[in-house]
C-alpha cells in the first residue's frame, strides 16, 4: 500500500505540491491527471524517492520513503533517453535483475521471456535506437516489469506515441495489470486515457501549489475495449467530470 500524508514540495520559492494526501491500495491502477506543469511528475519522483518530499510523509507498505523504495520500477515518457543506447534490448531489460543476484544466463532468460510478453520477440539482440518509438517504449515497460515490481510508476509513458501505438500499449498495460496485480501510479495529462486505464482517477489543480481537486472511482467494467468502452455512457460521464475538474470548472 502506498500512502501519502500531507506531502508538500517547493523548488526554491516555487510552490509545487500542496498537502497531497492519498492512499493507494495494493493492486490499484491509479491515474493522476492534471494540466501541464501541475506537479504530476514531481509527485511521481517524490514517491520514487528521487526527490525528497519536504513536508509530509510517503510510506510504501508502512515504510517511510527516504531513499528509493524496494521493488519499485519506473517508466518515463522519454524512452529514447531512459534506455541505454549502448546496450542491446535484452541487456537493457535485464539490467534491473543485476540487483537481484541472478547469473547472466538467468538474467537473459528472464529478459527474453518478458520481451515475449510485451510483444517483442526477436528484438533481444537489437539496440534501442534501431527500434520505433512504440517498440522502444515496450522495451522500457519490459525493463520495468522484469523484476516483478510491487509498485510501478509511469510518467506520461505514452505521451509521445502515435494514436494507434498508444492504444496498443494501453491495452498491454491493462493486460499486465490484470495478470500481475501490480500497483500502478500512472501520470498523464490525457483525460480519456486516465478514465480508460484507471481503477481510479485523481485530478490535480493547476500550479502553483497543486492540490487534489477530485478523487473519482472508475466504475467501468474491468474488461475494457478501445471502441466499446469509450462509447459507454459511464465513460462519457466520467470523462466530462474529469475534464471539468482539469479545467477548473465547478
Amino acid at each position: 500500500m502506498l500512502r501519502l500524508d500531507s506531502v508538500s514540495r517547493y523548488f526554491g520559492d516555487h510552490h509545487v505540491l500542496d498537502r497531497i494526501s492519498l492512499t493507494v491500495p495494493d493492486g490499484q491502477l491509479l491515474c493522476v491527471v492534471g494540466p501541464s506543469g501541475c506537479g504530476k511528475s514531481t509527485l511521481l519522483r517524490a514517491v520514487a524517492g528521487l526527490l525528497p518530499a519536504q513536508r509530509g510523509t510517503i510510506t510504501v507498505d508502512g515504510t517511510p520513503v527516504t531513499g528509493v523504495p524496494d521493488r519499485l520500477a519506473v517508466v518515463f515518457q522519454e524512452y529514447g533517453r531512459s534506455l541505454l543506447p549502448w546496450l542491446t534490448v535484452r541487456d537493457n531489460v535485464a539490467l534491473p535483475l543485476r540487483r537481484r543476484g541472478l547469473g547472466r544466463a538467468a538474467r537473459r532468460e528472464a529478459a527474453e521471456a518478458i520481451l515475449d510478453r510485451v510483444g517483442l520477440p526477436g528484438a533481444a539482440r537489437r539496440r534501442p535506437r534501431e527500434l520505433s518509438g512504440g517498440m522502444q517504449q515496450r522495451v522500457a515497460i519490459a525493463r520495468a516489469l522484469v523484476c516483478r515490481p510491487s509498485l510501478l510508476l509511469m510518467d506520461e509513458p505514452f505521451g509521445s506515441l502515435d494514436a494507434r501505438t498508444r492504444e496498443d500499449l494501453e491495452d498491454l498495460l491493462l493486460e499486465v495489470h490484470r495478470d500481475e496485480g501490480t500497483t500502478i501510479v500512472f501520470v498523464t495529462h490525457d483525460i480519456d486515457e486516465s478514465v480508460y486505464l484507471g481503477d481510479r482517477v485523481v485530478v490535480l489543480s493547476p500550479g502553483p501549489g497543486s492540490r487534489i481537486v477530485r478523487d473519482l472511482p472508475v466504475g467501468l467494467p474491468a474488461e475494457r475495449d478501445q471502441i466499446a468502452t469509450r462509447g459507454l455512457p459511464g465513460f462519457v460521464a466520467l470523462r466530462t467530470e474529469v475534464g471539468r475538474a482539469v479545467r477548473g470548472d465547478r
Partner: protein
Amino acid sequence: MSRHREFLLGLLGALLAFGACEGVARAGVVRHSYLPPASDVLVRAVRLAGDRAFLDGVGVTLRAWALGLGLACLIAVPLGLLLGAVPVVEAAVRAIVEFLRPLPSVALIPLVSLLLGAGTGTEVTLIAYASLWPVLFNTVHGLGETDPLAKDTLRAFGFGRLAVLLRVELPGTAPFIAAGVRISAAIALILAVATELLSGFGDGLGIFIAQAQTAPDGTRDVLAGVVWAGVLGLVVNGVLVGAERRLFAWSHERPDGGGPTARGREGERA
C-alpha cells in the same frame, strides 16, 4: 559529401601541394640544398623504410608515445570521473588546473630533462603531461552531458551512486573520452618528436631529424623524417577514428542528431 568523394578531394589536395613543391624546386627558384624537390624527399622517405637503424629509432619513438599516452589515460580518466562526479573536488582543483593547463608543454622539456635526466623517463613524462589535458577535459565534459533521466531510471531501479557512475555515466562518456584520446594521440606524437629533437639523446625519429640537420645537404633527410612523423600521425588518427566508428556506432544515432565532439584546441599550443 560522401566519404569516397571526400577521400578523392583530399588526395587531389595532397597531389597539388606535392606538385607545387616539386615545381618550385625543379624550376630553380630556390637552391636544392634549401628545398629539395618533393620527389627526392619522398624517395628518401620510402628508402628509410628499409633502413634498420632508422626503423629502430621510430620504434623507440612509438614506444615512448604509447607509454606516455597510456599513462595519461590511466591518470586522466579516473581523475576526470572524480572531478566530474564530485563538484567539491572539482572546485578545489580548478585553480591548479587552470594554472597548469596553459603552460606550453614544450617549454617544460629543459626542466624535466634537468630533473629526470636524459632518457625515456623524461620523454614519457612530458608526453603524459601534455596528453593528459584533452582526455581529462573530455571526460569531465562528457560526464556533464550524461542524461539525467538515464541516471534517474537506474536510481529508481535501486542502483547506488557508484553503480550509476559505472553503468550509465562511464559508458555514456566513453565516446567523449575516445575523442579526447584521439586529440591526445597527436599531441603525444608532437611531444615525442620534440623532446627527442630538443634533448638530442638516444634514438628516435626526433634524433634522426636532429642529426640530419648537422649533415651537409641534410635538408632532404630532415624533410624525409618530417614526412615519417606526418604519416605516423595520419595512420594513428585513421586507426582511432575507425575504432571510434565501430565501438560507438550507437552514439552517432543520437536522438538529437549530434555525436560527441572533441573539446578545446589543445593541439595548437603543444
